[in-house]
Amino acid sequence: MTSASAAPARPGWIGRNAARVEDDVLLRGGARFLDDIVLPDALEATFVRSPIAHGLIRSMNLDAARALPGVHAVLAFTDLRAVLTQDDIPLALPAGGLRFDVNPTCLVIHEACYVGEPVAMVIASSRRIAEDAAALVELDLEPLPAVVDPVEGLEPGAPKARLSCPDNLVAKTKVDYGDVEGAFAGAAQVVARAFRLNKGGGHPMEPRGVVARYDEIADQLTVWNSTQMPHRAKAMLVETLGLAEHQVRVTTPDVGGGFGTKAVFHPEELAVPAAAMLLKRPIKWVEDRFESFTASIGEREQVWTVEAAFDADGRIRGIRGTLRYDHGAATPYGIALPFNAATNLIGPYALPAYRMDIDLCMTNKTPAAPTRGAGRPQGTFVMERLMDAMAQRIGLPRDEIRRRNMIQPGQMPFTIPVKQRDGSMMVYDSGDYPECQRRALEIAGWDDFPARQKQAREQGRYIGLGLTNYVEATGRGPFESVSISIGPSGRIVVSSGATAQGQGVKTMLAQVVADVLGVAPESIHVVVGDTSATPAGLGAYASRQAVTAGNAAYRAATLVAEKAKTAAAELLEASVDDLVVNDGRVEVNGVPGHGKSLTQIARALAGTPGFALPGNLPPGLSASNDFMTSGLSYTNGCHLAEVEVDPDTGGVKILRYVVVHDCGRMINPMMVEGQILGGVVHGVGMTLFEWMRYDADGQPLTVTFADYLLPTSDVVPRIEIHHLESPTPLNPLGVKGAAESGTIGAPATIVSAIEDALRPLDVRITQVPVTPPQLRALIRQAQVAESAP
């Protein structure tokens, strides 16, 4: 306390580990996820999906399927087209670099372009019958050569992933600033590396799903969608079904995880509502896990060749190279992802010159779109591996080379001459990168590690310590909305265009509003993810909701508090300046009990026929705010991992994992740490386990959790999290996003540690995930090379 004379300050809610308002019902099994929605008269759908990666439909015989008892309809594209305004699903994110449009369609028209692409839709009285009928659909496809590898697909003479396109180079873009040629011409040292990062996915534990009901009498379509972006889903439906805004409501039930998978508008999200309109019956479709492996977006597959030029003292002069990216078979989202990868490469370092040529290769694989990290883990991986390579080349410690290249806190805001999507330059707003690394090194015992490592090696054990620094652009705009309303019931209702998939968005918003209105968060009713509750909104992507919706809630709550005080001043015949809002009441400061409850004020402001409103204020104790961002707020972090490698099996065990994290001011540190923990573990999966594999014909090989491995509790380390709090100047709360940051740092950190552990063998890792057989092979090669005369 700085002022002893002030009234005892109520404990604010911002910054506290408030209990989550979401938990009770989830713990009891009483939540309502998508598949828990049961509508009377509803039918269930399943999709017939392409069994091959590339082929033309010769014929499709639906008769046997249609004849099965219990089947209501079997629909091909032409059937659904009757209720659609256009063939394709519009591009969600416009992009200048696109060379041709390959927008998805809700069902294949002629040419199937990946295994799992929906070709026909079966609607029956139950999912079981629908699946029986789907097996009776006779689909005759003429197989075409498939493009599987994003490098081979760009070579001359490669087969075409889509016959209608001139080639597979769906987009070409670049990052280019500074005198790159000059940087290399005058460099004391140049290191060159090539990396391949393989395909992985979001894999929320609840797969996707849609329930749609068309009400003929009201002429309204209601869609329950397990999505991160209900407002965009609504916009897509309005456009493709030719409806007006008031005719469509998209609402999210409880959503069992998203991680980017549920941000993109997928074909089924149009097919199910279209079919519900066509058949005039409610229809439910719930994705099964095989479908989620083949029909849900993923990403990560990138092939990089890079060179770094640097001075004799380790200062970086420039980086150049190429990034080839697996775009998949369609463009559901635009081309932001590889651009994120290339720009996040820069990280917390002053990079004077940089050119990265980015080629997006269309392939006959499931379309790629942002998944937790959205390309940034790959870019950070490349930069941090280059840092280690540079350090090794000139014999400098890995921490020192980073320190020498870091942007200093006094240089903030730091502008990087890269133009972003909205036309603005990349600007790091705040952060103390050297201090972040210093603390992480101290906590992890960096200085003592060489001695421990030496001791371990004497015992035949290979332990290593890895290090990574990174940034993340968070809080992407342009806006998010929050409305707060207190009606005569006295209930505080907060509605927002934000959406929740487990992050604790309701708790976060309730805490911010509770802080301003001096009430308990659990007394606030939060409505998110419902287009009927909030006309405009964007939803969950780019680690943005605490930044955008959090600040909108703060401003709206402040407006409500001001209005309550103005009205109370009138009712109490007191001066506004003498009033305080506390514990759900507006009271005269220093006169406890002399005041009006928010409920009383709300009743007064609700209006009485013929009577004036208090102070002639506009009616209603409510306020709205659209928080518009003025730039991206950059979260940063430093990760250290200690690993042990078993040279006989190639197995990697993470012994210790330390994160020092700076996402500015924290609204709920417990939930921030939850985001970091989950993010790091997603990154552990990306580095050691998760690999969506395809064979040479484009057949997916990993379509169960027995083949595609998610990290489990017995292989995940305890993660130690520490915080710096450098508030961003870009928003009133000073908050930055935290949802993806953990994932961004993990792959580079773990691989740095593995290489450090195997330093005596000089094993160089060029590919993730690092599976035991691959690492064993690298170790074997090194051992053979070492024993050779």
């Binding site: 598949d35 929320p204 896990r289």
Partner: protein
Amino acid sequence: MFDPRPLNVTVNGATVQRTVDSRVHLADFLRKELGLTGTHIGCEHGVCGACTVLVNGASVRACLMLAVQAEGCAVQTIESVAAPGGALHPIQSALARHHGLQCGYCTPGVVMTLLELQRESAGRAVSEHEVRAALSGNLCRCTGYQGMVDAALEVLNAPAAQS
């Protein structure tokens, strides 16, 4: 294809008599026939553990067991762990306290797994290694498992639990 079979089973203490299609698995039976939607389906191939229930006290993946195989058995689901509106089970409240859940989709399966571990440990102190081994059959994409592990250690190693 419809192969109706009689089924007599006790679910959360109540006797249930139904006729079910022989191919319906236990998770679908609980969810669709009995409306017990707290048991979640995550993979339907027995790996993710979201559908974990207790059958005669032992954890079972309800997606890998046919409903008819539960004939004569006692099935316990998440809905029975705390009385409606009543206090949460200590494992449930510890999960909230330690942020051992985020989206909550895997949570019912996690609770059932930890109830089994609690019964098996019977008041004996458990190690973090044991807890992690027990939870290794429950996939969670949100939490990184740490909060669940801490919740289990707190409840299972509480003095009262060991007395």
